[in-house]
């Protein structure tokens, strides 16, 4: 597959923090990625640097094979929708969308009109006066209707209510099916986007701790529930990332999966095997890191065989 973005050893250092720590990854063409991680993990910083809106301290970034900095040829094919976007003074949604139409070569006005309708966006109200949800809708509409070959959505749907978010996901999928493009969705509403994304990129404390297909990610960990000693017998020697107890019953999440033989053993022992959702996996992995060492990233889940 062709990589449209290639990042090598990307580091971003602020005065006393390391926002990104020698990060390397590649983004493939026409794929929807989930760019996941906690707040402050480095997602927005990374996306800003990829779009040349922010600058790396060291490392290299190649978008469509070129350095995106001051590169209109590359940047015109990219769209970055962020959470709190500033708009020109007294601009209305109509102005903002008219502007987007000027600069995104594949802009689809019909799609924009359809979305304006679905989100019930008031076009002539000043953006300053729009509600949080309506403000988010403006960004989301720009991102979708831009049909930019690489589109970044940095949690722009935070202001949207559940209904509006579902509209966004549905429209995103429908449009992606008809007009495939590369999309990076950053979100901490992981389970909501889990079915939409083909690959997940998880970042924690400035490091990539997971970079694979959603399918593989979902197979990474297992959850065992039952009497504590029986559970412990099974989990001895495995890397446990979460443990909960209620009386004598404990629920343990560990990395790795069980073989068919092991699964029958589990069933015979009366223990329950539960799958681990993407959200649980990521939350528990990053929690795990939080308790072990301050500021250290989670166990490198790339090393776990799936």
């Amino acid at each position: 597959m062709t990589a449209v973005i290639e990042v090598q050893g990307l580091t971003k250092r602020y005065k006393d923090t390391l926002a990104l720590d020698a990060v390397s990854f590649a983004i493939e063409k026409d794929t929807i990625y989930g760019f996941l991680g906690r707040n402050g993990a480095g997602k927005t910083t990374a996306m800003s640097i990829l779009t040349a809106q922010n600058f790396a301290t060291s490392g290299s970034v190649r978008v469509f094979g070129e350095d995106p900095y001051e590169n209109a040829r590359v940047l015109s094919r990219v769209c970055f929708v962020r959470e709190s976007q500033k708009y020109p003074d007294d601009a209305t949604a109509k102005h903002a969308l008219a502007a987007a139409r000027l600069f995104f070569p594949h802009w689809d006005q019909q799609l924009a009109d359809q979305l304006i309708d679905e989100f019930q966006l008031p076009l002539r109200t000043r953006i300053k006066k729009l509600s949080r949800g309506q403000l988010s809708a403006v960004g989301v509409i720009i991102g979708l209707a831009s049909r930019a070959e690489i589109t970044f959505f940095d949690e722009p749907y935070l202001g949207l209510d559940a209904v509006a978010r579902q509209i966004f996901y549905d429209r995103l999928l429908a449009d992606y099916a008809e007009h495939p493009r590369t999309i990076l969705l950053s979100s901490h509403l992981i389970d909501e986007v889990a079915n939409l994304v083909e690959r997940v990129l998880v970042i924690d404390h400035g490091r990539i701790i997971m970079d694979e297909t959603t399918e593989d990610a979902l197979q990474k960990a297992t959850n065992l529930v039952g009497p504590a000693d029986a559970v412990d017998a099974f989990t001895r020697g495995r890397e446990v990332i979460h443990r909960e107890s209620l009386g004598r019953v404990s629920s343990v999440t560990f990395l790795g999966t069980l073989t068919a033989a092991e699964r029958s053993e589990v069933s015979a022992a009366g223990l329950e095997l539960a799958p681990v959702s993407l959200q649980q996996l990521i939350v528990r992995s990053t929690q795990h890191a939080g308790t072990s060492e301050q500021g250290a990233p989670a166990a490198d889940l790339k090393e776990v065989a799936s």
Binding site: I32, D170, L173, A177, N195, L196, T214, L218
Partner: protein, 128 residues
């Protein structure tokens, strides 16, 4: 709607298989397109495509160039055979395990099955 556990594309494939088995997707009819499946289940089209590809590999679906995916003749038979073969592992073993856990022997189990089977024939339902 979507459960966790099996990979998503496998779940999608199984749902299509279910509809072939129960007759709602008859043989020689056209199966939903990848995009339709993606939109309906709210999943990534690539995942839907993977599920469809799996069924094509199993010969449960066939691709007719330029038109789309169709259910070939014999697909239902194929699935029924496959499910019958898997029936023991999938349903019978867990049943026996659970029965043992609560103190029922395989003979007790057989009696229960006969009793409930009779009830089904009478009332059309197994539960009261």
């Amino acid at each position: 709607m979507i459960e966790e556990g099996k990979p998503l594309f496998v779940q999608i494939a199984e749902r299509i298989e279910d509809s072939i088995v129960d007759g709602s997707l008859p043989e020689r009819s056209q199966a939903p397109s990848t995009n339709e499946l993606a939109a309906f289940y709210r999943i990534n089209p690539a995942t839907a495509a993977k599920g469809v590809a799996m069924l094509v590999d199993k010969s449960v679906l066939e691709k007719r160039r330029g038109i789309g995916m169709f259910v070939p003749e014999g697909a239902r038979e194929l699935l029924l055979r496959e499910r019958r073969d898997a029936f023991a592992d999938r349903y019978v073993s867990p049943l026996i395990d659970e029965a043992r856990r609560i103190g029922l022997s395989p003979d007790d189990l057989a009696a229960l099955v006969r009793e409930h089977g009779a009830r089904l024939t009478e009332t059309g339902r197994t539960t009261s």
